[in-house]
């Protein structure tokens, strides 16, 4: 077990060194989420002035959606890009012949994704609070924790699927990793709408469906 923890730490260190060595990579961590927050934040403020009733709900809906989307997207990217990175650098064989096990590698990617998503959420939450007087904790209360946790889990699962595609197809699978989350989210939401048992079981393989399922269960309990 200690050996496994040592190897997980080694891989985690590998991702940390990347940020130490590359300013663009560290900036990318906050640049796009902040830009998106500006766009969606100001758009929701504008919509708030146009919509006659429920302006506060519009602001809450859009900003919450944007922040949660980023948690999901970043957690998937942290897993997929960790595999892609080794393929880009022709380092994949060195990794695969080392004592590192696949689950240890994924654990390191999960921890990296968790820290990255947490950091982004804090930054975005703070900016949203300062610029738009929007408080995530007020708007969702304790639901914030399981919701964010489920989105992280969903992102990791999609990340594992896309990593498998990358290992199987190599470079040609690269295009998939950038659009995998929207595709998986759409499948998770729309497949169960079809009544066919086959598509429902496909949807249940995605954790987005479990989010939806819990929401319905809660509603039906009243």
């Amino acid at each position: 077990m200690i050996e496994s923890l040592r190897r997980i730490y080694a891989m985690f260190l590998r991702y940390l060194y990347l940020h130490k060595r590359s300013l663009p990579r560290s900036l990318e961590l906050i640049f796009w989420p902040v830009m998106e927050l500006f766009v969606w934040g100001f758009l929701s403020l504008y919509l708030g002035t146009v919509v006659e009733t429920g302006a506060a709900a519009v602001v809450m809906f859009l900003i919450n959606g944007m922040i949660f989307w980023d948690i999901l997207y970043r957690s998937q990217q942290s897993v997929s890009i960790s595999v892609m990175e080794e393929i880009w650098h022709h380092n994949i064989l060195n990794i695969l012949v080392s004592p590192l096990r696949l689950w240890e590698w994924m654990c390191a990617a999960f921890i990296y994704g968790f820290i990255k998503s947490g950091l982004i959420t804090i930054i975005l939450g703070t900016i949203a609070c300062v610029l738009y007087r929007f408080n995530m904790a007020d708007s969702l209360g304790l639901h914030l924790v399981p919701l964010a946790g489920n989105l992280l889990l969903f992102g990791w699962i999609v990340g594992i699927y896309t990593s498998a595609v990358l290992l199987w197809w190599g470079y040609s699978g690269e295009a998939l990793i950038w659009r995998a989350v929207p595709a998986a989210a759409a499948l998770g939401d729309f497949l169960p709408a079809c009544r066919a048992a086959r598509t429902r079981s496909m949807a249940f393989a995605l954790s987005a469906e479990h989010l939806r399922f819990r929401r319905h269960a809660r509603r039906s309990r009243g």
Binding site: E3, R6, R7, Y9, A10, M11, L13, R14, Y17, L18, R21, S22, E85, E86, H89, H90, N91, L93, N94, L96, V97, S98, P99, L100, R101
Partner: protein, 250 residues
């Protein structure tokens, strides 16, 4: 008699309808360097990948250190290492960072001391704060080799390690490899196109042509099998008239 580090028997690998390796058998005894020789696409790298447990053979048997590379990967990975001219350590990390990461992955004791020892051995100490992407191909080859010795492997698998080097650097790397191998008594499985190199380094050679082993033994024995004065002549003869020993390929 030296223990066999690798035993491969009738190894075959097929992708769809394409046969990549056909019935190859060999052993790598402890303390010996075994060279796999063959033209591009002969099946050398596929064979190495089966030994490393990266590819499952379609049929046949392979054992490394007496165990299956597919069932006992963790055990084998600790005592085996690999270097290839076509691989790199992460290009955007420094040499020192890369060595630290791999030393941790291999659970190396006295990590700092070991890394320093290898950097000194390969004359890389002055480069340890440079990112690997900024190094020349010769320096990267030495980096790969230094990484491959981190865990003091009993078996070292080298895939054309000097392919991108100039003759001077290739000679230095060969000398260093021979010195390390003799000092530590490890077994090396080696692929190359460079006949001179194979003759200078390898104790035994396995000639692979059109995915099959067509001759094996010491370089003198292989030269004799092809009635050639040098391995290079034997290689050219084999590639241009490769059916001389392979009845089925005619």
């Amino acid at each position: 008699m030296a223990e066999s580090l690798v035993e491969a028997k009738d190894l075959c690998k097929t992708y769809g309808g394409t046969r990549a390796v056909d019935s190859i058998s060999f052993t790598v005894p402890e303390g010996k360097i075994i060279g796999l020789l063959g033209a591009n696409g002969a099946g050398k790298t596929t064979t190495l990948h089966m030994v490393l447990g990266l590819l499952k053979p379609t049929s046949g048997f392979v054992s490394v250190l007496g165990r299956s590379p597919f069932l006992d990967r963790s055990f084998i990975a600790r005592s085996v290492n690999f270097s290839s001219a076509y691989g790199n350590l992460p290009l955007n990390l420094t040499l020192g960072e890369n060595m630290t990461i791999f030393a941790r992955l291999y659970g190396v004791r006295n990590r700092k001391q070991k890394v320093q020892e290898l950097l000194d051995m390969f004359e890389l100490t002055h480069l340890q704060n440079r990112v690997v992407g900024a190094l020349s191909s010769g320096e990267r080859t030495k980096v790969n080799l230094a990484k491959s010795l981190l865990n003091d492997p009993r078996l070292l698998v080298l895939d054309e390690p000097t392919a991108s080097l100039d003759p001077d650097m290739a000679d230095k790397v060969r000398t260093l490899l021979k010195k390390v191998q003799e000092g530590r008594g490890m077994g090396i499985l080696y692929t190359s196109h460079n006949m001179y190199e194979v003759e200078a380094l390898c104790d035994e050679i396995l000639f692979i042509h059109k995915r099959r082993a067509i001759a094996s033994g010491t370089s003198a024995k292989v030269r004799e099998a092809f009635s050639s004065a040098s391995l290079e002549q034997a290689f050219i003869k084999m590639v241009r008239d490769g059916n001389i020993l392979c009845g089925e390929d005619r």
